[in-house]
Each structure stands twice: as structure tokens, then as C-alpha cells.
Amino acid sequence: MTAVTQTMNTTPSAVLEGELLFNSIRDIVRDKLAPLTVKIDQGYYPTDVLRALGEAGALRQHLASQNGRGEYDLQAALKAMDIVSQQCMSTGFMMWAQDVVGWYVEMSDNEYLKQTILPKLASGEALGGTALSNPMKYLAGIEPLLVSATETEDGFILNGTLPWVSNLGPDHWFGSIFKVGGDNPRDVMALVNTSWDGMALKQLAKFCGMEGTGTYALVFKDVFVPKIHVLGDPLIPYLKKMKAGFILLQTGMATGVIESCIQLCEEVEPKLGHVNAYLDDRPDELREELEDAREAIAGLCETPFNLDPDYQRTVLEARLLGGELVLKAANSAMLHTGANGYLHDAPAQRKLREAYFVAIVTPATKHLRKEIDAMAAA
């Protein structure tokens, strides 16, 4: 296990503790999540599963202030997400959302939020989403910022609409970046609650899968955000600090789905190996690629605060690789399992839809390529 440590003490007992954590996650997956996978894909939001994962410790591994070890153990957070995503990537995705809301607070200098809300986010008692899809695209020059704010003495008044924010529900937290006008124009990020006055969640058009992810449009109408909830102001240094972690934390979804796709291919090998041999991207080749990717990601997880452009670019590339490999693996799972994978509730076709999600969710494949391209010319 690799991790950024403040004290550098990956002792045998810490490894054992890790195994206990992963075993309890496997138990939750088997007993609580597996029976719900198809329902979640169709629209059921699994509050109980997320709470159970939080209680088991799956949502605080990357939070040095909350995991009892004083280390930013992104690797453990990713492994937890990987195990869950092998069964149900919708839930893995919500773990990422939850992990990232905690990461926002952990990376801020806001002691108030660290004392009050962070422990609840880390334990799953409070839930939340990232809401940074639009701001990430804004920063990459793809979209304008959709929420604007007026500054008051002790806070900001927000207006606007953010489409497609996930892991939301009543009384959920999310990180919001908004454009402040007036005498001191700038971009600011704060932690906001969906139940605050003026906030509304709007149900959107139906997606082809992953419907149970609590995905809504967030509508802000004169929402007052107190300054005590500010996460980043000035924004850019704060975002730079947390960006690599934000992106690396997504890769657990990809590795989990790839793993399960490989298993689907392997399972039919005894029956279909003689003809599947004619397919591209065979399970042994995919396994090799997955292990290489996991190794590269583990290396990157060791230094999430490295601001060197080469490191930052490699983080984007690792995320890009996740999106490319997961599509390849899911495509392979479909071709290897054949008609059985095409059945209505078959895992292979669900994983194909999940895989597209990895490649589409912000930062999407095209977004990553644009950013990497911009870095190449710098």
C-alpha cells in the first residue's frame, strides 16, 4: 500500500487494518449492494449502502484529518471505490462524489467546516456531491461559469443553474464555484447545502442508466452563502492544490469496472475460449493493461500536491487512460459474453453503459485531451 504520510508509518498493523476495511466493504457489497445493483441502475438511490460504506470507513481514507492515520491515503480510497465499482459503478461514482466533497473541505483552510461538517461527510452521516462539472469546464475554457454572486458583508447571494450534479438529495452538501461581481470581482468556492433557502433540485430527463445516482439540476435563487462556508478565495491556488486528488480519486471507478469486465470475459473462457481467441483485447491482455494502470495510479497517489506540470499532465493522462481502457474492457466483455451479455439484466451491457459514463463524466475524454493539448504548447 502506498500513501502520502505525514508521519510515514505504514506498519504491518496499518496494512492489516486496511485488509479489515476492504473485507468489510466486500461484505457490504455482497449483502447490501449486490441485490440492489439493477434497481440502482434504474433509479433507486442507495442511501443505506452509502451510509454503511461510510460507517465502515470507506469514505475517509483520503482524509488525513479523519482516518486516524494522518495520511492522505488516496490509494485506500481508490481501492474501496474499485471494490464497489466492480459490482455497481453508480455506487462507486457516488463514493467519488462523497470523497470529493470531503476533499474540498480537507484541502481548504476553513477550520470551522473541518470541525463541524467534515467528520459527518467522512463517516457518511452527511452526504454530498461535487458540483464542479461546470466550473471544471469553465477553467478549461469549455463553458462559462453558470452561477453568479453578489457579495455582502458576511456572505454571498447566489443565482444561476447548474445542470447535472450527482449524489444530491435533501440536506446534501456540495461545493459551488461562483462568479462574484461588484468592486472586487473574482471567482470563489464555498460549501453549500441543498436545503438552504432558495435552493431547488430539478429532476432532469431520464438517462439510459445509472439513474439512482441522485442527479439533478441545481437551481439557485437568491441563495445566501455565509462567508464562514468559503472553501477557496483566492480560488486558483486552492484548486491547484486539490486538483490532482480530485481527478485521481475518479480512477477507482474505472479500475473497478475494468476488473469486473475482465472477470466476465474470464468466466466464459472455458466455454467460449476456442472462439473468443479470435477477438481483440483478450482478458489476459486487458489484465496486463489494468495492472499497469493500477501501478501508475498508485505511483501518482504518492504525491497529490506535486504542482510540477509533468506530474499534473500525467495525472490527466492516467484519468484519460482509465476512460479509454474501460471502454475497451466493456466492449470486450460484450463481445466475449455474446448474446448472454446482451440480456436485459446482464452485467455486460450494464457495464458498457457504465464505461461510457467514465469517458463522459467531467473531466471527459475530450476535455482531458484538450487540457493535455494545451499543456503541450506551454
Partner: protein, 467 residues
Amino acid sequence: MSTPRWICKTCGWIYDESKGDPDSGLAPGTRFEDIPEDWSCPLCGVTKADFITLEEYAAQRGASSGPKNRPPRAKGQVGGEDAVVIVGSGIAGWTVAERLRARDPERAITLICADDGCVYPKPALSMAIGQGRSADDLVEKSGTDKAAELGVTLQANTRVMGIKPADKRLMTAKGNVKYGQLVLALGASQRRRVFAGEAADDILRVNDLASYRKMRERLESGAQHVTLIGAGLIGVEFAEDLHAGGHRVTLLDLGEQLLGRLAPPPVATRLLDALKPQGIDFRPGVSLAALDREGGAYRATLTDGATLATNLVISAMGLVPNIELAKKAGLMVNRGIHADPADMRSSDPHIFAVGDCAEVDGRSYFYIEPIKRQAEAVAAAICGECAPFERKPTSIRVKTPSLALNLCPPDLSVADMGHWVLERENAAACRMAFMVHGRSSGFALSGTEAASAAELYDTVCRNAMAV
């Protein structure tokens, strides 16, 4: 996965005792022999008698006519155990592809590059403005066309993230690529230094077509003031080319003269005298300290405390070979990737290094002529022939239209053993030789004297071999 499993011979559905078949009333944990005889396969409806264990099934399949080896794949695949994979589409990478193809029309060659693979003359980057050529005008051929011409599989816009020499494969952002032989033509990067100030990230480093295009875009809005950090070869060439494009230039360098150690002081002074009337403002002993935004432009704070308003800052502090990939892969590296002059092989027998990223006998070769000879050495070695890379002195024609300049700096093995001698000079020209034990081991020629470079170079080469 150790629980007993049975497979339906007809449709391949698997009965796993630990999972049971709850839809048919079989609880998880129901042993196969306890399943009632009237139970049927939930997928295809055949009976229990049509199930066998996975082990039996695998044994039957193993004895069948299924192929033991993977069938061969289509031509045009990326990489492969028999393929030469070249990483990098600069002059080094493409020249290796050309020389390989010339020797072996059949060999599978894949070229992987982070950009689009287009072919352009890199030396032109520091004279295109004066020639009135845009970034697009510099492109001689698209990567696709070049690949088609050479019968090379091109994997463009793909960065190599890692090399596993033991398994002979590369990791890229598009997945793994196998290789038989790997040629690293990774190039070099302009040295990066950390500057203070909120706009420090806006400083450009121009070393390829993409960054050059960005520079030209930034200059599109008309005459500007450009600050160049570094007055080496690239710095002085850019300074003059930018001036030719109507821009005002301030040239900073921590050293006391232009061109650093490439030229002796009298020749450097002549260049400075030629640049001054053009308004190129050279500040010796000074570099950038911080860059901040001010109005629609920048305020550059210099190390001597002076400030200047500028529209664009370009850093040209010298090239650093790109060795990170090789280093992470465990190849022997120094400043560049260690390569044997006999065949440009790295410390791994299946990996070669060529061009700006390579280091031969402690020397980097950042110029076209030696790079092409290195490419030849690699191509020959891969084809089982021998064409060693010969270490020759470097002759540089400096692209400064205001003063013709030909330089041949002494090799590092003799740099401390000799001295510059002024052989001839007049108002229009200057000829200096670097003398080691009475033999000419380098030269610096300006003005009309520059025309005698070829002849002097032959002498220097002969003397070098004699040493």
C-alpha cells in the same frame, strides 16, 4: 472462486453453489446434487443432466481443436512483438523510420507521438517570422501522409506514460503497446525555472510547432514588446526574428555576453554591435525575477530590480534532454539517455536512444546533422548491420541575418586545454581559431569570414581525429 461450479453444455450458463438460483427457488448454498431433477437451466431450459463441472468442461475444450496460440492480427496494428516502435515524431523519430524503411521494406514499424506527427523543419522556428511564414506554412507533410509514404503505423496524439523493458511493452494513455525494439526519440525541452509573480505560468517556452503556434497567436495583435530570457543560440535567433516581425525585444541573460560559451567574447561583441542598431536591448548579468499582470500586459521585474512593461515573455535558457521516461524505466541516464556510439543502444539491449534525448560519451547533439547520423546508426543496428555514430565537432550556422556567423566550439575534451586566437579581423569580418597544442580545434567566424567555414571545419575534423 473456489466454490464448485457447473456449466450448461448448451448455453454456457454457470451454476455457482454459493449463489444458487434464487429465481427457481434454489437458495444460495444449495449443492448441485441436491437440485431436484425437474429443475431446468434458467437461461435455455435444458435439464440438470446437461450440466457438467467447469473442470470437465475445460478439459473437453482443451482437447478440442481450439487454437493454442492467438491468431495473427491484421497489419497496421499498433506495435507488436515483432515491431519496431519509435517514440517521437521530431526529425530524429521520422529519420529513423525513413532509414529503417530504406533498409527493410517489410519490417513492422509503429511511430507513437504526443502531437499530430506532422513533419516540419525545426530550425525554421527561429526564422519564420522574418521569412513571412506562419506556423502552418512550416508544415511540410502531415503525419498521416508521412506514415502512409513510409508504410508506418502512426499512433498520433498519444503520449507514452511508461516503459516496461522486462516485458517489452509501453504504457500509453490509449492502452499498452508491445514492441520488439524500441527507439526513443523523445527530444529535449527548454529548461524550466520557477519565477515569482501571478503571471509566471504565462511564460512561453518555444521548442516545437505547437508552442511556436501559440507564440505566433500571442503576437498576432500587432507590434509588441517581447522579453526573451536567455541570450544563447535560440535567444539571439528569436531576438532578431522577432525584430524582423516588427516587435521590440529585450534580451536578458545572466552571463556577460551573447551566445554564452559558444562564441569567444570578440565575436559575441560583434553580434551585439550588429543587433544594437535594431533596437534589441540586451541586458547582461540580468534575468527575470517575477512576472505580474498590469493593464492588458505584464510587468516584468528583473533580478537587478528594474521593471519593464512587456507583452510576451519567452524563456530560452537552454535545452534539457527529456529523460524522465527512460529514468523511470531504469535505463542508464546522465544528462541524456546513455547511448552506445556503436549502435545508439541504451543500457537495455532492445531500446535505442536518438536525437536530443540521447547522450553519447557525455555529449548531447542538438543539431540536425549529427541526429541524422544517429538515426542511421539505429536503423543499421536494428537490421543487423553496423554504422557506428562518429563523434565529430559541431558546426553551427547562427541564423542572425544582421551578421553572418559560423561557430565550431571546441569539444569538451579539449575546451580547457586551449585558447582562442584572433587570426584576422577588419570592420566587416572576424576570424578566430581555438588552438590546442598548435592545432585548430574550433573556430568562430563572422561577416565575410563565415564563408570559409566548410574549409576550416575539415581541418578541425582532421585535427580532432588526430587527437
